[in-house]
Symmetry: C2
Subunit: 398 residues, 2 copies
Amino acid sequence: MSGSGLYRFSSRMARVPDSFLGELFSVSAQPGVISFAGGLPDADLFDVAGIRDAAEEVFNQEGKSALQYTTTDGYLPLRRYIASRYRSRLGLNADPDEIQIVNGSQQCLDLVAKILLNPGDHVLIERPGYLGAIEAFSFYEPVFNPIPTLEDLAGPSTEAIQDLVAQYHPALWYGIPNSQNPSGMTWPVELRREVAELLDGTGTLLYEDDAFGELFFDGRARDPVKRWLSDQTIMTGSFSKTISPGLRCGWIWAPRSVIIEFNRAKQAADLHSNLLSQMILARYLETVDVDQRIREIAQIYGERCQVMEEIIDDDFPSGTSHTCPEGGMFLMVTLPSGVDSMEIFRQGIKQKVAVMPGTPFYVDGGGIDTIRLNFSSANPDQITEGMDRLSMVIRDMG
Amino acid sequence: MSGSGLYRFSSRMARVPDSFLGELFSVSAQPGVISFAGGLPDADLFDVAGIRDAAEEVFNQEGKSALQYTTTDGYLPLRRYIASRYRSRLGLNADPDEIQIVNGSQQCLDLVAKILLNPGDHVLIERPGYLGAIEAFSFYEPVFNPIPTLEDLAGPSTEAIQDLVAQYHPALWYGIPNSQNPSGMTWPVELRREVAELLDGTGTLLYEDDAFGELFFDGRARDPVKRWLSDQTIMTGSFSKTISPGLRCGWIWAPRSVIIEFNRAKQAADLHSNLLSQMILARYLETVDVDQRIREIAQIYGERCQVMEEIIDDDFPSGTSHTCPEGGMFLMVTLPSGVDSMEIFRQGIKQKVAVMPGTPFYVDGGGIDTIRLNFSSANPDQITEGMDRLSMVIRDMG
């Protein structure tokens, strides 16, 4: 019994980790706080005028359609665009019927878990792993098997994968090969091939979350694991990091047999995604030089990442280490042992700098001496100022 | 094992009824088909220009915010508007913190089931009941207890409610007191009071789905059951039937203890709803005479309902009966016994008229001689033509 005492909540609610993302969001939004805690793209880089013009055209030419109900799978011109971009960027053959639009790729985490997981099923996840995935999956009561991330591999231990797959026959193996959240690491190509080989023919489906694949600082695309494991891989993507998160537009690309079940789940969950946004996006993507825009954003994020890394190297206590991202929006810092990252979070807020403690990313606990830093939302001056504050906080605790 | 044969789907997928809504949508969209099968509002009644202007203002004044991430609960000005409208329309005190925005009220069905239902929990639902609820709830594997709808009560049998609550202690009782989908019936006020009294103090939460409460033909608001059972009622609403479904904007209004859990589920499901749409809606609702617009829409739907009823009375075989809606978008026809509504659906498609067979609305089977007709999406001439075709189909089968 909980709540009013009259009614009770489902037992799965007790399985979901208490998130403090809401708290993070509100403290980060306080005036004067420089936040490295969230995962926001820089709103100053949004093409507001371009998206507004696309919206105006949609209203003027197809307003009634944009405001009406539509089918669950999503707006076909947008699905075609996504499929053709897989061909042009990665040389992969995606069929628009293998792609479904969702409310940001977070929704894929919920719906994939819904169609695949029975309580007690095993799920492999990187250690540290993406918090949004841990939360979404938890509602379906799986057993998480963390796969250690090895720094020399810049990715998960293949030995651990092999052992865990053989021992538990996991339903799902969830990973982020490109600029992982939270570590910022990118799997080298040999590791991708190896993971594909290890999974091939097992009953374990690979969930390849590609939220950051467009944001490599060098502008070069990396081959996804799906290249070598096409029929056994779910891949998800998003316009949130490249165009706008407020439009809530992501997608899943998966074998048709998965898409059919996914579609049933999506229909029951919310009928379909916001059609106006899908039409605005499709129109916008036709008119803008997307590659050029994304290249600029990635370069800017790369410069910010470098500013952040230099301050860590120069000013943080000896014994500190950090990952060296090739893209994305995050890097991870490991502090000298004995430092509690939750305490850094609390003291940081007092000094008006917000960080994300590492512990929630570790399904087995641990990571207490790690913090995740976001380098996309603040500009270089703010990063310098915020990192100076953070450096002080850490030194004061030493 | 299913799909590729390599991986299996969760056992809950076998519990979800095979929907043919997707098929319905595509046959209904075929050229020349007059559809009474769907649940679309008439797009000709959308205020495209007004919504476009609101969008332009949002882009020009708050473009960056509209395109950025936001909090899970939803855009505060929109939640304030919804709360104040409960006060002005119904005289009920709603707090914006008791309201959360979702992607159309269908999403509430999924998330409420997620936070409340364990497999095997009992759920009461009207017989016939809303198909979208049956589908959404089915993923959480409850036992459905259908409550017979009695024509003389114009609503569910209170005797059955009393018995079922005493026997099964259901977690949830889901109903649509205003212009129910599919029956079109509206519970009289005495029935509402009685249902509130029956549930008061039991562990059963009432889910009062109010998708159609604004669409009474006479423009008069009806007291919700929540008036007499406030702490034990979840109420949901939507802008889909009054402003636009493409914006995917609905809401839940529930006690704080429920909202807190709902918020956790919403965050894991898709972080937050489309912010651009929320801001457009909030702006639009400030500038337009909402009451006047909705009154016009409801009057038009009332006229269409009357056209449809008259044709049924005049042209359908004797032994046919139908409900007499006071609002909403649907009425239900009971055909002379021996007529199979699935066959009417199939024959209707050949004659370019689409209807919704009643059976999927009956969780215990049954309803084979019923069809649901939508009167909102076609204009009176189309209704006349379509009902003539339908009348022929039914007579040909007799």
